[in-house]
Symmetry: C2
Subunit: 69 residues, 2 copies
């Protein structure tokens, strides 16, 4: 499993822990739902600034977001 | 300071702690020296897989690489 897939799994887990739909999570992060879906499926390679947006939306540190990835 | 600049400062600190030139670090990470220089200056937005390469070259976890960023 490459890092994009591992990260995608981690992101889905963090989102589902909060009971959010992809739509709600995308809105919170200021991203498109289809992009969040693609990142969760491991078929996108998010940049540092996208990772920052995702961490802020989840209200966690960037280092926590990529933990165990 | 935006996240790319904060990360660039962090990357430079980690490289210099190891006494590596940008050239040596780039070789270890399988990247071009000019790209490493640009990331350190905060003018590039590295992707997740580039972050993984940088962390592997530094022999640290991804979460450590982006700590305090």
């Amino acid at each position: 499993m490459d890092i994009r897939q591992k990260f995608g799994k981690r992101l889905r887990q963090l989102r589902e822990e909060r009971g959010w739909s992809q739509e709600e999570f995308a809105d919170r992060a200021g991203l498109h739902r289809t992009y969040v879906s693609a990142v969760e499926r491991g078929v996108r390679n998010p940049t540092l600034s996208v990772l920052e947006r995702l961490a802020k939306a989840l209200d966690i540190k960037l280092s926590e977001l990529v933990q165990s990835v």
